[in-house]
């Protein structure tokens, strides 16, 4: 649905040319939540601003729904922008307007008649959970509420694409989660394509279907969120994965475990998007004559199911343990016994 070919943006300064985005290729499917992650200076902010041409590309093409954004005239670009919502890190609301009037602003721009505008605004205020706050001014709202207004405003003209420029970076963790939930909700309800950029792996993990890792103006790694989590190839990706799965002391804990539990079997279970056997551990101990002892691990939930690693200790008859592990292997969970220390 969105296809980007050879996209580049060069900022010319006095001493040098800065290639903020460098020959970037990407395809984003309709209805998916596509995340771009990178450290500051990786070019992700420039990338998202190129999509609605807040920055004009130096080269390459952007096609959204078979419309070539990169070659539109000024007038056509304005119309195309009305089909794309955008939300910002600092919300960028007009302080002089109430919540309702802020949400009505893009409708005014699109020339929607007053009656219709009012109706649509009421709908949106409810959609983003701001019922009753319609006549407040932005200064009277919390950060999370302001971003809700930003989202309602971005959705006003029923866009097909929503661009999120570090939309949760200025919010505390709890508010971040509630905004992310809202985005997932909107994505499901309206079938909207969401492109978001962030430096927080947490955001990617929680809501994205696919992720692209950006470094030096290029996408260095791209794929389903789970695949990238499970098999990060690039160093920078590994660092991001460690952000949420961070486990620097695993090596030392493994050797300790070996000493502590000489009997039975110690196994590592890799969850890679398990959905059907969410209660796997209790299932195993119920079905087989084994005691399962969770020693160490971390499981996290992604859009595609549970992801993470558990180190468990199984106690019981040797054959029973084998049968239990075979059962586990039949699910999507990967099993690793005979751990190397």
């Amino acid at each position: 649905m969105i296809s980007i070919k050879g996209l580049s943006k060069v900022f010319r300064t006095k001493d040098q040319d800065v290639h903020a985005v460098n020959d970037l290729e990407a395809t984003i499917d309709s209805g998916e939540i596509f995340g771009v992650i990178g450290y500051s200076g990786a070019g992700k902010s420039t990338f998202i601003r190129l999509l609605n041409r807040l920055e004009d590309p130096s080269g390459g093409t952007i096609n959204i729904d078979d419309r070539e954004i990169s070659s539109l005239s000024k007038g056509d670009l304005r119309l195309a922008r009305q089909d794309m919502g955008m939300i910002f890190q600092h919300f960028n609301l007009l302080w002089s307007r109430t919540v309702e009037d802020n949400i009505a602003f893009p409708l005014e721009i699109a020339g929607v008649p007053k009656e219709e505008r009012k109706e649509r605004v009421d709908e949106l205020v409810e959609l983003v959970g701001l019922g009753g706050r319609g006549t407040s001014y932005p200064s009277q709202l919390s950060g999370g509420q302001k971003q809700r207004v930003g989202i309602a405003r971005a959705l006003a003209n029923r866009p097909k694409v929503l661009l999120c420029d570090e939309a949760t970076s200025a919010l505390d963790p709890e508010t971040t989660d509630s905004i992310l939930d809202l985005l997932v909700d909107i994505n499901a309800k309206l079938g909207l394509t969401i492109v978001l950029i962030t430096h927080e792996m947490h955001v990617i993990r929680k809501i994205c279907h696919r992720v692209a890792v950006m470094e030096d103006g290029k996408i260095v790694e791209e794929g389903d969120v789970l695949d990238v989590f499970l098999r990060p190839k690039q160093k920078v990706t590994k660092r991001f994965v460690d952000q949420v799965m961070g486990d620097p002391d695993r090596e030392s804990s493994l050797s300790l475990i070996k000493e502590e539990y000489p009997l039975g079997e110690v196994a590592q279970l890799h969850f890679v998007g398990e959905r059907t056997h969410q209660a796997l551990i209790s299932e195993v101990s119920r079905k087989f004559q084994v005691d399962v002892n969770v020693l160490h691990g971390k499981i996290t939930q992604t859009q595609k199911g549970a992801y993470g690693t558990l180190i468990v200790h199984l106690e019981g008859e040797k054959e029973e343990i084998e049968r239990a592990l075979t059962y586990v292997r039949e699910t999507s969970v990967e099993v690793e016994v005979a751990l190397d220390v």
């Binding site: 955008m86 960028n92 602003f105 005014e108 721009i109 200064s139």
Partner: protein, 222 residues
């Protein structure tokens, strides 16, 4: 009591002079607001990073503003005599003071307008662009409403400067309290007249300041 303290003060004359001052102030503030706003917008929009960024247009506007701001007001009045004569048909009286007052005040206000516009959050302008807003929409629905409190407090400062300009204009026969204080007070050695004129001007200034502060505060929803 009043007549003993201020033997030379004629209430009728004072009222006439006050009305003339108010007339000059009101219309010069109005004219300054319109032309200053236009000049200020032009400065901002053609300036670096503005939506009509244009070096030449910006240079011309800035030069015009700087030159007219540099000329002392008393000299500006004299300089504009032919222009005033052509425009108003006379060079005396309150109306004749208006062209000089506006041409003196507008460039001053233009700079304050430019500063006010520069204070508008760039992110909000960008958000409007991302929504597909036209330049006209950005100017009238984003830039001006978002800078209203600063535009009003700037206008208050300008209005007070204009009140003192009207007193200067009095010297060339524009009428008003400045004129009155000079010819009927100072030249006739009637210092009670000078004193009463001063008090009246101070009151007018205070009233303008109060209205300006009040409006600016009321409109600021930040």
């Amino acid at each position: 009591m009043f007549e003993q303290l201020f033997p030379n003060v004629q209430v009728d004359d004072m009222i006439t002079a006050t009305n003339e001052t108010l007339f000059m102030t009101f219309f010069s503030v109005l004219g300054t607001f319109i032309f200053g706003l236009l000049l200020g917008l032009l400065l901002y929009l053609t300036g670096p990073g503005g939506i009509w960024q244009n070096k030449i247009a910006n240079w011309i506007t800035a030069t015009f503003v700087n030159v007219f701001r540099a000329i002392p007001f008393i000299i500006l009045i004299l300089l504009l005599f032919p222009f005033t004569d052509f425009l108003v048909g006379t060079i005396r009286g309150p109306s004749a003071a208006l062209p000089a007052l506006i041409i003196g005040g507008a460039p001053f206000y233009a700079r304050l307008v430019e500063i006010a516009l520069k204070e508008v959050d760039k992110g909000v302008i960008e958000a409007a662009k991302a929504m597909g807003a036209k330049y006209r929409t950005i100017i009238f629905k984003v830039l001006l409403p978002e800078s209203t409190p600063a535009l009003i407090s700037g206008l208050t400062v300008t209005a007070i400067a204009l009140i003192s300009y009207t007193a200067v204009a009095g010297v060339i026969g524009a009428g008003g309290l400045g004129d009155f204080a000079y010819f009927y007070g100072f030249q006739r050695n009637s210092f009670d007249v000078v004193f009463v004129c001063t008090v009246l001007i101070v009151i007018i200034v205070f009233v303008f300041q109060f209205i300006g502060d009040f409006a600016s505060r009321k409109l600021d929803k930040r």
